[in-house]
């Protein structure tokens, strides 16, 4: 272990990692640079943009506001962990279908924030979506298609659940 670095046990997208980290490394840096999970983006240094949002033990958090060492023992889910190209998560499919993105830079963070929101409120109103995504910025879309995408995703998730219950 490098001098001054600390051990870290963390589960990311279901895989356990035991690496050492610099004590001041942010979770966003650890994910991008140590694990190569570059789907988590960094758009600012004042925790404003939300491009870095991940799920930490199921809750949406801005990974640039968390030190990697603070995530010791936690489970982290990044955009790479929510679905695969063959089996997209409902939120991913909805963003793609509903043109909820343009440059795509904010998209992983927005989707993670949306997943966090939909876990708490499976059937959000438009107002709740607006309020729930308040912490993320998108410069490209003007947000309207993103709101539509989240509504669409809520519908898809509900349908998935009905199917699961029906099985």
């Amino acid at each position: 272990m490098r001098e001054g670095w600390e051990p870290l046990k963390i589960t990311v997208n279901g895989v356990q990692h035991a690496l050492s980290v610099e004590p001041r490394a942010l979770l966003s840096e650890y994910l991008r640079e140590e694990l190569g999970l570059t789907g988590t983006h960094v758009g600012c240094d004042t925790s404003q943009c939300g491009a870095c949002t991940v799920l930490l033990d199921g809750k949406a958090v801005k990974s640039c506001t968390v030190l990697a060492v603070q995530a010791e023992g936690s489970e982290v889910t990044t955009v790479e962990g929510i679905g695969s190209v063959d089996d997209l998560h409902a939120v991913q499919a909805a963003f793609w279908d509903r043109h909820g993105l343009q440059c795509g830079f904010c998209t992983p963070g927005v989707m993670m924030a949306a997943i966090g929101l939909l876990q708490e409120r499976p059937h959000p109103t438009e107002e709740e979506i607006r309020a729930g995504l308040d912490g993320v910025i998108c410069r490209c879309t003007g947000y309207q298609n993103i709101v539509r995408a989240v509504q669409d995703a809520a519908g898809r998730l509900a349908a998935e659940q009905d199917r699961a219950v029906g099985d």
Partner: protein, 776 residues
């Protein structure tokens, strides 16, 4: 029609939603070195000394570069910008030193250890102030700078680094005819592009001299040419790669981090060096969008026909020119807005200030001219007592009229402004007369409308190319040089090809990155011109492919090529489609039963260059600035609280003449995004400077953007008047949602508050100030 006009999903979007999409700074290579900048804290000062000795001793530091280490002066039009300040700093945020180290943290620590002593100089904080005789001169060397691109007309000994002019008609006669004359002063601040991906560049210089550049640029071919020129490297030895770009808005057209990263790599023996902006540097060190002060006088007959217009602009180009001289000409060329004004006198001055330097910003000066023209139209409507919508409709340019630069307009090159205005009014629920409606004890509701037009203002020799290679299975690979930063340019190109080939768009393979070594040049991915320029090249390449396919098929089917058609992955006899040969059987040559073969791999090329464009005459402005215009209108509905002047933008509508909508959902999305940016500018965004010229809001916590929940309901529609020389008649639409939104908002707020709002952003405080002393 199979592909054009369909909302096909973006080709690159699957990678974007799965997190696999790569942006420039997503590549960390072992052994890569990190560069960082030390920037100026003063807006205007001489550098008494810059001492790097301590920094050089710091752990991990490989090199520290200062102004004297850079021999070049940079600039697209005028070479006025040293990559690192030499002797003098001209804006706060200007790079002074460049540190290369093993890690970013080490580079930053060393940068902070550089000792700098400033001797402050008087700060010039606004373009009007800067243009006054006797103002402190920011570039005493102005007369000696190299002109890289004409036209540019610097006035040595002043801060006026360029000017553009329109002289049309007879002003004396115009003012004589004018029975009603209105005047106004208009102000817009500089604005940051604020793309969510900050700019970054990596450079490696290989032992054989090849320079590998990786950059988040909108203009990889410009990076290639400028690096080749600045550092005397043969152009083919400079290879620029650009992956997906996370938003650009004009801000990534300027070539600067690449120059610094090259210098950094050179200083460490050619090793790979990364230089990436922090958000703060992205706002305060890299260029922003131009600000302005403007004055306009407009005269009309009593029945509301425009007779004469005189306007003067002072553009706040900041400390350096970059592409702002070209912005000035774009403003001049379209200075009347989409209205018929027979007599025009327009001066656009580009003025140095001690602000962050500027480059293209989505709209290329058209937000500025639209704001000026549409605010004065509103004043004129008021003075004449006519409905603002009606006044606009009465004066829109029509086929047969000429533009300020005397281009003759046709239905094809102009489109239909009146139709756009009508449809916009319909969407927003316009009631003639524009009155504020009281809807609550302290709330009034009002509408504002504004029209826009824009042409490309690109160089007359801008080029674009397309290469098609066929795969054995009959599908096609399409290579173009356009950058994908969110507008869906590559998908559009694929749709155009698919349409021409009568194929499914899924059978066209594109790559979303650009590499200057293998992709044909596309001038710059700007001015919303990809569909026109790249589309024309794609269609020409498609014809080339079709010719080759038909030639082989003619032999196979024993008929003249002229009897053949393509479609559905086949070449078939026009009179008997059952007789055909499949693409897959001829894409890589046709093999007879005996094994002997003809043909070879089918590959098509298409090459486009702008046609008939000319530079504007320096005295009169005559010339042809672009192939055609896109016209449209935006309307806004606001609810204003009359106690504290807070307001909510409830709805916003934009209708533009798209010629032909190639991808409806993408088009709507891009227009909504533009409107959102425009309303952000209108309501809150600006670069804020202290008295001393320091940037006060260099981070996203302070630089206010539209956030979720603040957006109004967006209503978007299109009129389709084909531009006949463009693929499928399509016109540019990428910037245009942005153009009239600030003006429409200001018009609505002026009605709601009962006072003219002639300066943006219209924050509640600004509105309050405007109303001070005015009784309601």
């Amino acid at each position: 029609m199979t592909a054009v006009g369909e909302s096909v999903r973006r080709k690159e979007a699957e990678n974007k939603v799965s997190g696999a999409a790569k942006y420039n700074d997503d590549f960390t290579v072992p052994g890569m070195l990190y560069a960082t900048l030390r920037t100026s804290t003063k807006a205007h000062a001489t550098l008494r000394f810059v001492d790097k000795r301590k920094a050089l001793q710091m752990p991990g530091v490989r090199a520290v570069l200062l102004g004297e280490d850079a021999k070049v002066l940079c600039g697209e039009v005028l070479a006025d910008r040293p990559p690192l300040a030499k002797g003098r700093v001209r804006y706060s945020g200007e790079p002074i030193a460049l540190v290369v180290a093993d890690s970013e943290a080490q580079a930053m620590a060393a940068a902070a250890a550089i000792d700098i002593a400033y001797d402050p100089l008087p700060v010039v904080n606004s373009p009007l102030e800067a243009a006054k005789p006797g103002a402190p001169v920011i570039h005493p060397e102005l007369g000696s700078y190299t002109k890289e691109q004409s036209p540019i007309y610097p006035q040595a000994g002043t801060n006026i680094c360029d000017s553009a002019h329109i002289r049309k008609g007879d002003m004396a006669r115009g003012w004589q005819e004018a029975e009603v004359v209105v005047e106004g002063d208009f102000t817009l601040p500089q604005i940051d592009h604020a793309a969510m991906e900050t700019r970054s560049a990596r450079v490696e210089i290989l032992p054989d001299g090849r320079v590998q550049v990786f950059s988040s640029t909108q203009a990889p071919f410009e990076v290639q040419k400028l690096l080749s020129k600045y550092f005397a490297v043969p152009q083919g030895q400079v290879v620029v790669s650009t992956p997906l770009v996370g938003g650009a808005f004009g801000g990534k057209t300027s070539v600067n981090l690449e120059v610094l990263a090259y210098m950094a790599s050179k200083a460490v023996g050619g090793r790979l060096v990364r230089l990436a902006n922090t958000r703060e540097q992205d706002i305060a060190t890299s260029p922003v969008g131009v600000g302005m002060q403007a004055r306009m006088k407009l005269g009309a007959t009593r029945d509301g026909r425009l007779a004469a217009a005189e306007m003067a602009y002072w553009l706040d180009t900041g400390a350096y020119t970059d592409s702002t001289p070209r912005v000035a000409r774009a403003i001049a060329a379209n200075c009347t807005g989409p209205y018929r004004v027979p007599n025009v006198h327009c001066d656009v001055n580009v003025v140095y200030t001690n602000h962050v330097f500027t480059t293209a910003y989505r709209g290329f000066g058209h937000i500025n001219l639209t704001f000026t023209v549409e605010r004065i139209m509103e004043k004129l409507a008021h003075a004449l007592g006519v409905d603002p919508l009606e006044l606009r409709k009465r004066n829109v340019l029509e086929p047969g009229d000429t533009t300020p630069t005397t281009v003759r307009l046709t239905r094809s090159n102009l489109g239909d402004t009146a139709k756009c205005l009508e449809r916009t009014a319909e969407l927003i629920g316009w009631t003639p007369g524009s009155h504020a409606e009281r809807i609550g004890p302290h709330t009034v509701r009002a509408h504002g409308i504004a029209a826009f037009w824009k042409t490309s203002s690109s160089p007359p020799d801008a080029i674009s190319g397309a290469l098609i290679t066929m795969n054995k299975d009959g599908t096609m690979n399409l290579a173009t040089g356009t950058v994908e930063f969110g507008a869906g340019t590559k998908t559009t190109a694929a749709q155009i090809l698919a349409e021409r080939m009568g194929m499914d768009v899924d059978q066209i393979h594109i790559h979303s990155d650009v590499n200057t070594k293998v992709d044909p040049e596309h001038w710059k991915t700007v001015a919303s011109m990809s569909t026109y320029m790249s589309g024309r090249a794609v269609l020409e390449a498609a014809e080339d492919v079709i010719r080759q396919l038909k030639s082989v098929a003619a032999t196979v089917l024993r008929c003249p090529p002229a009897d053949l058609e393509v479609g559905g992955g086949r070449v078939y006899l026009r009179d008997d489609p059952q007789q055909y040969v499949a693409f897959k059987d001829i894409a890589h040559g046709y093999k007879y039963q005996e094994g002997d073969s003809i043909g070879g791999q089918v590959m098509g090329r298409g090459s486009f260059i702008m046609r008939h464009l000319t530079l504007l005459d320096q005295k009169t402005g005559q010339g042809r600035p672009g192939p055609a215009w896109t016209v449209g209108a935006t309307a806004v509905e606001v609810d204003l609280d009359t106690r504290d002047f807070t307001y909510r933008i409830r709805r916003a509508a934009t209708v533009m003449d798209a010629g032909k909508v190639i991808n409806p959902r993408t088009a709507r999305g891009v227009v909504m995004g533009g409107m959102n940016m425009g309303l952000g500018y209108g309501s809150r965004e600006s670069m804020l400077y202290s008295d001393q010229g320091e940037v006060l809001n260099g981070q996203l916590r302070l630089y206010k953007l539209m956030r979720y929940g603040e957006q109004p309901e967006y209503l978007v529609d299109f009129v389709e008047t084909p531009q006949v020389d463009s693929p499928y008649g399509a016109r540019p639409i990428g910037e245009h949602g942005n153009l009239a939104a600030p003006a429409a908002l200001a018009n609505a707020l002026s009605v709601a508050a009962g006072v003219p709002i002639d300066e943006l952003p219209a924050t509640p405080e600004h509105i309050w100030r405007a109303t001070k002393g005015v009784h309601r």
